[in-house]
């Protein structure tokens, strides 16, 4: 993680109120992994308001640049929407825990009797099928994950099947569609008003995906080969009610699920304890709360105390 003044390369409004910003920062471009974020100061150093940095997930990286995509929803993002090529933004990053990469090699069920929680999670990453569930402006880190999976695994014999489920209020709020189409096997869209894709919730599509997957008998197309167990893994990012529903659905289907959380982050580096989320089981290392900035933003959905969030 480093701090730098990143030159603005490009700033374009990709959807109403949504800006895709390209910034020059070689160390972020080189090191950022899907799920990580940068902490951006939305003002000049000479002023003091808005005071704090804002966190944005990395959407894409290139040789020396990286992209973020945000919706204007407050004073900080309003400032950032007006920057032009040639301006510079004070950034800190890359920060946070990234998504765990799925492994396409599937060696069948691990020996359940001796599985520890850690090894169970490790083996849950052995999944030939990845389902991405994104809501609204939560989709950028998932788009990066799709690209990362394709880049890391695209040329291997056992590739990873990626299904992207995108939800938004309406057509005007759908973002990163091309990014997903380029890197996913299937893309499905749901909008609240039915103006793009089907009318409904992205979580309904997830429920269908997981139920269909379970129902396939050994000889149906798409079913796992004999001796091979099809395992789904879900990655989700979006509004809290969506994440809560995704967590519930995945738990019901016994499917591992990683989520990326969002919270106000005064410091972004783990010193203030401001951005915490309650965990289901207090443990020695973390206590009752984990910091979204350094113990996340990516976490296993089952770690979160959803009743108290």
């Amino acid at each position: 993680m480093e701090r730098c003044l990143a030159a603005v390369v490009d700033n374009r409004e990709v959807a109403a109120g949504h800006h895709r910003l390209r910034l020059e920062a070689p160390h972020v471009a080189a090191r950022a992994r899907a799920g990580q974020f940068v902490h951006v100061l939305p003002r000049d150093a000479a002023t003091s308001d808005p005071l704090l940095r804002r966190a944005f997930s990395v959407l894409a990286t290139d040789d020396t640049t990286f992209d973020i995509l945000f919706r204007v929803q407050g004073r900080g993002t309003a400032r950032m929407a007006s920057v032009r090529a040639g301006d510079a933004l004070d950034i800190l990053g890359p920060l946070g825990v990234p998504f765990s990469m799925p492994e396409p090699e599937c060696s069948g069920a691990a020996d359940a009797a001796v599985e520890t929680k850690a090894s169970a999670r490790q083996s849950s990453l052995l999944s030939p099928r990845v389902i991405l569930v994104g809501g609204g402006v939560g989709v950028p880190p998932l788009a990066m994950l799709a690209a990362q999976i394709r880049q890391d695994r695209g040329d291997s014999k056992k590739s990873v099947e990626v299904t992207a489920l995108i939800g938004a209020r309406s057509r005007a709020d759908v973002i990163c569609l091309h990014d997903f189409e380029r890197c996913s096997t299937h893309v499905q869209i749901a909008t609240d008003d039915g103006s793009l894709g089907r009318r409904g919730l992205v979580t309904q599509m997830l429920e269908e995906q997981l139920s269909t997957s379970e129902r396939k008998t050994p000889h149906e197309p798409g079913a796992p080969a004999p001796g091979e167990e099809r395992r789904d893994i879900v990655y989700a990012c979006g509004p809290l009610p969506m994440l809560r529903a995704v967590a519930r659905i995945c738990a019901a289907h016994h499917v591992p699920c990683q989520i990326s959380l969002e919270e106000n982050m005064p410091c972004g580096v783990g010193v203030c304890n401001g951005c915490v989320v309650r965990v289901a089981q207090a443990d020695d290392e973390y206590g009752h709360y984990r910091r979204v900035c350094v113990d996340g933003p990516v976490m296993w959905a089952s770690d979160v105390a959803w009743d108290e969030v």
């Binding site: 701090r3 005071l51 704090l52 940095r53 207090a282 009752h288």
Partner: protein, 302 residues
């Protein structure tokens, strides 16, 4: 930078800039980004007798040129602090000041005793002024209790004792004098101001705790005035805290009467803020042909 040397009671610091409790953790997170050994001292996150989980989120909220926090003194407790956090900090050549908070006078004495026996601690800062916990942890609104807490802590340890005062009082000089009478070697002021913010859409407080402590540039004028008034009320040195974002801010506090300063919220914005302040003070002295920072302290002309 020899002329930045600062004396706080029995404690000698290489420069007058300390980190404020709660803004630097226990050093581990920022060590990769910030050279800890350049700091005058590191005041770590509050340590309590028993572990504390902290308040439910949301714990923070940005306000105009500031922020509210209601963290709730989340910490691992003194036992784990000594076993797990202290060893890391001992590896650095920077004075460590441990901020402690108790639910009773006896708690403060207990903490003072427990930390006395630990090598690597330069001083204790008594957090008698945290506004974010229920049931009377805010000792610093009562001068009698203030004097009692300080004197019990003094009796329990050989370590220098600094008392951190609350600004949420009618007359902070009364509390300052009480802390001095109790034997404090220096005073840290101020802690955060109690405040709140409301979400109009939901008609709910933005903080789960309803109210929280305000910090940042917005409180500088208030903190500065508190320092100015206390400087003429007590003999012991004052550590000025409140909205210091840069060296110029720090200089205002010295002129008002502070011997040293703490940098807090600024660190959230710029991890190396404290180091920038140190450099800026040094640049100022050099530019003005001054060889001793102490000539600036209390030099306000009225």
């Amino acid at each position: 930078m020899a002329y930045l040397q600062t004396q706080l009671g029995p404690l000698t610091l290489r420069n007058p800039v300390l980190t404020a409790s709660g803004t630097f953790g226990y050093g581990q997170e920022l060590a990769p980004l910030v050279d800890l050994e350049q700091l005058g001292a590191l005041v770590c996150k509050t340590v309590t007798r028993h572990p504390r989980a902290g308040n439910a989120p949301p714990r923070t909220c940005e306000t105009a040129s500031g922020m509210l926090n209601a963290i709730g003194l989340q910490n691992v407790g003194v036992e784990r602090f000594i076993a797990e956090k202290l060893p890391f900090l001992r590896g650095f050549d920077v004075p460590l000041i441990v901020n402690v908070a108790g639910e009773s006078v006896e708690d403060f004495a207990f903490l003072a005793r427990a930390l006395s026996d630990c090598p690597g601690i330069a001083a204790l800062e008594l957090n008698i002024s945290c506004p974010n916990v229920a049931h009377g942890l805010d000792f610093a609104t009562d001068p009698i209790v203030t004097e009692e807490v300080v004197s019990h802590a003094r009796a329990a340890t050989h370590l220098p004792i600094f008392a951190k005062l609350s600004p949420n009082v009618s007359d902070i000089t009364v509390i300052a004098r009480a802390a001095e009478a109790g034997g404090a070697h220096a005073l840290s002021l101020v802690n955060t101001f109690v405040g709140m913010a409301i979400d109009v859409r939901t008609r709910r407080p933005r903080l789960s705790n309803i109210s929280g402590g305000l910090s940042g540039p917005a409180i500088k004028p208030l903190a500065l005035r508190a320092v100015y008034r206390c400087a003429s009320s007590v003999q012991i040195p004052i550590i000025g805290i409140g909205g210091i974002m840069n060296a110029n801010d720090a200089l205002e506090f010295f002129i008002a009467g502070a011997t040293a300063v703490q940098v807090g919220t600024a660190t959230f914005v710029q991890p190396h803020a404290a180091l920038d302040v140190i450099q800026g003070i040094d640049d100022y002295l050099e530019a003005n042909g001054m060889t001793d920072l102490q000539t600036l302290v209390g030099s306000l002309q009225t």
